[in-house]
């Protein structure tokens, strides 16, 4: 099956802990993304990688760091979580070439910070 896979589906943790989310795509794409979706469903891009190189880095707190081992994997680490980090984190992938490439999304990781 070709798709975007995210683990875990849910994660509950306490303020100050470190968390790590995994994302893998089997679509053969060269570009991957992390989006944050808040409780009001607002979506904002956080990072984008093309062939393991960071190409988009929006203004996010330094405690967030993406990690890419190859073009099929893009993980997200949060060093010391805070309550406002509670959200759904969506991973996506696409091909970079072309004029209007489709993004394919995973089902998300829901983070709850107590």
């Amino acid at each position: 099956e070709t798709a975007v896979f995210q683990t875990p589906n849910y994660h509950v943790t306490q303020v100050g802990n470190e968390v790590s989310f995994n994302c893998k795509q089997t679509l053969g794409h060269d570009t991957m993304y992390w989006y944050k979706q808040d409780s009001k469903k607002l979506l904002k891009i956080m990072f984008s990688y093309n062939n393991k190189q960071l190409i988009v880095n929006e203004t996010v707190p330094r405690r967030f760091s993406p990690q890419s081992s190859d073009k099929a994997h893009l993980n997200l680490r949060i060093k010391s979580v805070e309550p406002e980090d509670s959200a759904v984190y969506l991973c996506a992938s696409s091909s970079l070439g072309g004029s209007a490439e489709t993004l394919y999304f995973g089902s998300g990781t829901r983070l709850t910070v107590l």
Partner: protein
């Protein structure tokens, strides 16, 4: 800066009725425009996209959208909705050369009543 506005946070229609979900964008040139749908506990899926040519684009599940440069709009339409269309719908734009970085609207939650 570019932006996307979806003026209706929630829309309720009866099954079999026609549907229009509104989307307005702000950008000096013509961007690439997309409609995505998010079903409960899932990631986003592409419905359709526009980047040039015929202003009426056809998408999956009998959805279509009409681009209007004069109105800076990209409204989504469907002639007859089904209860399974209940979901959150997002309009998004991408600027040329922006590495597939999508700017999303706030979303419209559609409820289809039997």
């Amino acid at each position: 800066a570019q932006s996307v506005t979806q003026p209706d946070a929630r829309v309720t229609v009866s099954e079999g009725a026609s549907l229009q979900l509104r989307c307005k964008y702000s950008y000096s040139a013509t961007p690439y425009l997309f409609w995505y749908v998010q079903y409960p506990r899932q990631g986003l899926q592409l419905l359709l996209k526009y980047y040039s040519g015929d202003p009426v684009v056809q998408g999956v599940n009998s959805f279509e959208a009409e681009f209007s440069k004069s109105n800076s709009s990209f409204h989504l339409q469907k002639a007859s909705v089904h209860w399974s269309d209940s979901a959150v719908y997002f309009c998004a734009l991408r600027l040329s050369g922006s590495f597939n970085k999508l700017t999303f609207g706030a979303g419209t939650r559609l409820a289809v009543c039997p």
